[in-house]
Every structure is written in structure tokens, then in C-alpha cells.
Amino acid sequence: MQENDLIIKLEHLSKEFDGVKVLDDVSLDIKKGEFVTFLGPSGCGKTTTLRIIAGFTKPDAGSVIMEGKDISEVPPYRRPLNTVFQRYALFPHLDVYDNVAFGLKLQKVPEDEIEKRVKRVLKLVSMSDYEDRDVESLSGGQQQRVAIARALINQPKVLLLDEPLAALDLKMRKDMQIELKEMHKKLGITFIYVTHDQEEALTLSDTIVVMNEGRIQQIGTPIDIYNEPVNCFVADFIGESNILKGRMIRDRRVAFIKHEFDCVDEGFGEDVKVDVVVRPEDIYFTTDPAKCQFKAKVNSCTFKGVHYEMWVDTDTGYELMIQDYDPYPVGSEVMLYIDPDDIQVMKKEREFNSFAAKVKGEGRVEFLDTEFECDTQGFEEGEQAQAVIRFEKVDLLDHEEDADLTGNVEFILYMGDHYHLTIKTDAGENIWVDTNDIWDKGDFVGIKILPGDITLHKVASGNE
């Protein structure tokens, strides 16, 4: 029964381009009639996934199952799905009518039937009077509509949309979002949508698939994804958020920013390190000292249209973002509280850097394709070990002369009183760094680790 509801099933898709993994074991079930959105930053693998479904890209491993049949080897022109391309890809040598009729003409559908269907589908996208127009003479939004009509006329079971609204201006994008949503309702077919715009994803989708670095981070409804992000990446990518280090004291009691709060999360255990997400609109101002959980000083206040965005410094030295309808003057002391419901506790993904290492000799060890000095007492030459480095012990340099190895800043997370950076080394490995210095995404950095900051651990036996 449940299997019958599925229209597309992705099984363990992996893909490499020039040695770079763009998809890493992606599995997903898509239900009939669902509006599914792949959401993520550029290079996260969302477009590759779509192209694999459409058949333009062959996965290195894994398969695409459509209605129970493996279509991995089926060429794109025999797949019962159609695509709306990012830059429309309307044929410039054909007019609107011939563009839309292209698919039907290939199927040798009778001319009068083609005409009827073209008229119907152009009406659906509100482009009825444009049949004879040259596609070049149309505006971006109109070209978009023709592209949708052209894809829909073959009556596909699944419509793939690759960032279809990215080239439109904001107002037009909002209008098209509403129209797409209505079209989806009217047609009842499955839409698979790719975007990097989180707001668009939240507006349109039944289900959002958040992707990063070729992996699915979280699958859920827009409300789930927004309210209960599973990790720092999702929390940071969707909406604004305060992401902070915390400690679960016991069930329903969590400490962060050096204060204790009631929360609703359970099952993490006692005295366990966690990450905490608080949305800026969920921190409330109060004048009642009994309600106040912590005090802060307003640092900046910016009008954002509907609300004011304020940065406050807490009495314990953390910086938080707050959104409120009322402004508070810069410099004023305020009393704040957070509802237990609005605190999202997440399992820590990692607590330290850990690399597979090989002891190269007395006081020398190799990991990340680089040789480091460190204390190797208790280890023999050639022995495999686990090298552990705390996040704050990795030094970043803006030059490579004194560095042990180099890399680029891949992802930056502000944690209230420090930055947590993901650095991708030149060899393609991730190394995480806690720092107070400000770096930009994409910055080229030298990485230095002092001998005293590397601790070697024995690898569990049986593991050659």
C-alpha cells in the first residue's frame, strides 16, 4: 500500500566529478503528487540529483526507481518526466507555439489535437495570446511560463524544476510562486523543485530535503525543518538563528550562554554537550523581573520592514540576535526570556577533530597528508592511531609560509561568542576550528597545529 504511493525512489546515489564527491549516498522516497524541494547552497548536489532523475547525468552508484521500475539505464527521452530548465532553454529558432508543441510533434500527434492541447496548456500558464510570438521578444517571466507550458504538454507524471525562478525579480518571483503552487494543486502531479532560496522552499513545498556537501541533512515539512533543525547547518541555512554551545543538565533542562533554561527536549542523557538553536523572534523582552531569565545590553538596532533586528550583549558575554516589533534604544539594559518550547536542542555532531593517523617515527605522525610533530610515547613506528585536536587548538594563518597545510574556509557559524569554521583542506578533508578572528567564506588559510595540541589515541584492536 505504502509502496504504491511512491512515484520515485532514489537508492544510494553517489556521483563524483573529477575526483570531487558531489553526491554521497543519497536515498529518498518521493510520494505521488508531492511537492518536494531540494534545498541547499550552491555545490550541495541538489542540481546533480535532479539531473540524475531526469537522466542527463549518470550516477556512479545507486539507482533511480520510478513506479517500481529501475529507470537508471533509461535514456532521458524515454523517461515519463519533463524538466523546466534554469535558464528556460526555449528553442530560439521556434516561436512560442512551436516551442510548446515540440514534444507532441515528436510523438506524431495529429495537428488538430496538438493545436487543442497547446491552446489549453498556454491558457493554464496565462499565455494564450502569445502563440505566434518570437520567444526572444518575451520577458523573463513570460519565457518562464512558456517553459512550464512546454514541459507540461507531454503530461508528465513528474515535473522537474531546476531553480526556475532564480532569474526573475523579487516581485515576479513571489507571483510565480503562488501560481506554481496553484498549478501543482490543479494538476495533481509530482513536482520536484530545486532551489537555494530557503524562503521559496518554505513557501512552496510539502516536503523539503535540505542538502549540503552531497548529503541529505534533513527531510521534513517546512514547519519541521524550521522549528526542529537537526543540525547547525540546517539551523543556519533556514531562517535566522542563534546557534550556541550548550549542555544538557538533565531531561528538560539545558544550560547555554552561562544560564540555565527549561526546555522540552528529552533523552539526551545527563550532563551531555549539545548545540542549541534559538530563533531571533523567540527571545522576548519583559519588564517583569520575575519572568526575566537573563539581562542584556542592546548593541545595535536596525529596522527591517516588519520588525526590528537587534543585537544584544548578554550579561555573560554572549551576542544574540533578537527580532521584535518594538525597538529598544541602543545602550539600554533589557530583561529577556525564552519559552521552553522555543529552545531547540541538537545532538552535537562532533566535539573535536579526529583524524586517522600513522606514526612515522619517534615524535612524528602523519595525517591529512601532512607530517606533524607530536608526542608518540606508547606508539610504535608504523602504527595506526587516531589523532585528536580540539577545535580551538587549530591556528589559522593568512599566509602559508609557517603553515603545516592550507585550505579554504567552507562554512562559518557564529556561536554567540566565537566562530566555528569548517575548513576544507587542499586534500578535500574537513577540519573544524573555533576562533575569535573574523574570516570570510572562501578565504585561503594556512593551518598550523602545535605539537602539544595533538593527542594520539589507540585505534581499537582488530582494526588493522
Partner: protein, 257 residues
Amino acid sequence: MNKRSSWALPYFIFLVLFVVLPLLLILMYSLQDASGNFTLSNITKFFTDKDALGTFALSIEVAIENTLLCILIGYPAAWILADNKLNRSAVTVVLFILPMWINALMRTLATAELFNMAGIQLGKGTLLFGMCYDYLPFMIYPIYNQLKKMDKSYAEAAQDLGATPSEVFRKVTLPLSMPGVWSGVMMVFMPTVSTFAISEFLTNNKIKLFGTIIQENINNSMWNYGAALSLIMLVIIGITTMLQGGEKRAEAEGGLI
């Protein structure tokens, strides 16, 4: 005259001296008899001269054959060169263009020598071979450029809508590459009509083309008739250029996105 347009002055002078003036001279000579009196007899002579008319028809015929041959060989070559999977290096493109670095006359002489060595009778076949060899790069390069800059998403969109690879080629790739083909045709057809060196060396002057007749007249000091023939050729080439140019412009507009 503002500052920027004064930069155009040297080019303007160049054009007047080396393009406009010679053209006017051709026009003048073609409308004069040997003693300098105005006459239309040079023009009417051509249209009554069976030999000249026949040569002209043959020139057009050879030019059409050569152009078709160049398209037939050049299009697939350009298509292969533009395909990233079939051709991974830019070196192959350079190899196709490389013969152009050597003087055409020298290449033609060498080709003739090769035919002699191989004992192949010089004639129309060798003429077409030589022309095709000389002009092929001019056909390949514009088509290659057009195919190379074509957005791949057109082919993908066609496939997505159900077109098999051969249908993608016929209904999308080929029509969208036509501007390149037209450029190629212009660059091959026009020069072939007026060529004389290739026919001289590769047929031992057995086959005379229009260019040869002009050259012969000029060499024999029949400047006025030679000028008239040049003028007629210019007019005919001009008309075909405009016809094709119009078509090409429409296509080129289609190729822009």
C-alpha cells in the same frame, strides 16, 4: 568632429585609397574603350561572348560543388571538434587551422606535385580536391565556433521532451548552427568563384575559371574588358552576399540568447 571620431580618420583614408578608389577605377575602365571614350561595349561583349559566359557558369558550378563538399566534410569535423567527449584537447582544432599558416599558393603547388608523383591525371577532380583542401578550414571554423558556444541545455531540453539523439540533431542542433554554416558558405563560395591560381596549377590550365579569364585579359593589356568582367563578378557576388546576408542575419538573431 569630436575627439573619438577623429581616431577613425586613418582608417577612412585607408578605405578611400585602397577600397573605394580601386573600385571607382574598375568602374571607370570598364565603361571606357581602349582610347578612353565612354562605351558599354565591354559589358555587352561579355553577355554575347559564349566562352566567357560558359566559363562563368562553370565557375559558379565549381564554386557550388566545392562549397557543398566543404559543408559535407566540414560539418561533421566541426561537430566532432566541438564535442567535449570526442575531442578533449584544443590542439586538434589548431591542427585543422594549421595549413592556413602556410601560403595557399605553396600548398597548391605542393598538391599538384603530389598528384604528378602519384601519376594522377590533373582535371576537375584534382581541382575540387585542391579547392576543398584550401578552403575547408574556412568552413570548419565558423561552424565549430557556433556549435561550441551553443548552450547545451537546448539539446537537453529537446531530449527531455522526447527527442532521440538524431531528432535532437535535426530539429535543434542543426537549425541553431546554421549561422555558422552561412558564414562558412560566404567564406568558401565567394573566393572560389574568383580563384585562378588553383585552377591553373591543379588542372594545368585545362579548366579555366572566371578568375583566370580576368587575369588573362589584364595580362594581355585588355584592361577595359578585364575591368568589366571584374565589375560583373563583383555585382553578382554582391547580390548573392546580400541575399545570404539577409538570411544569415535572421538566423544569427535566432542564435543569440
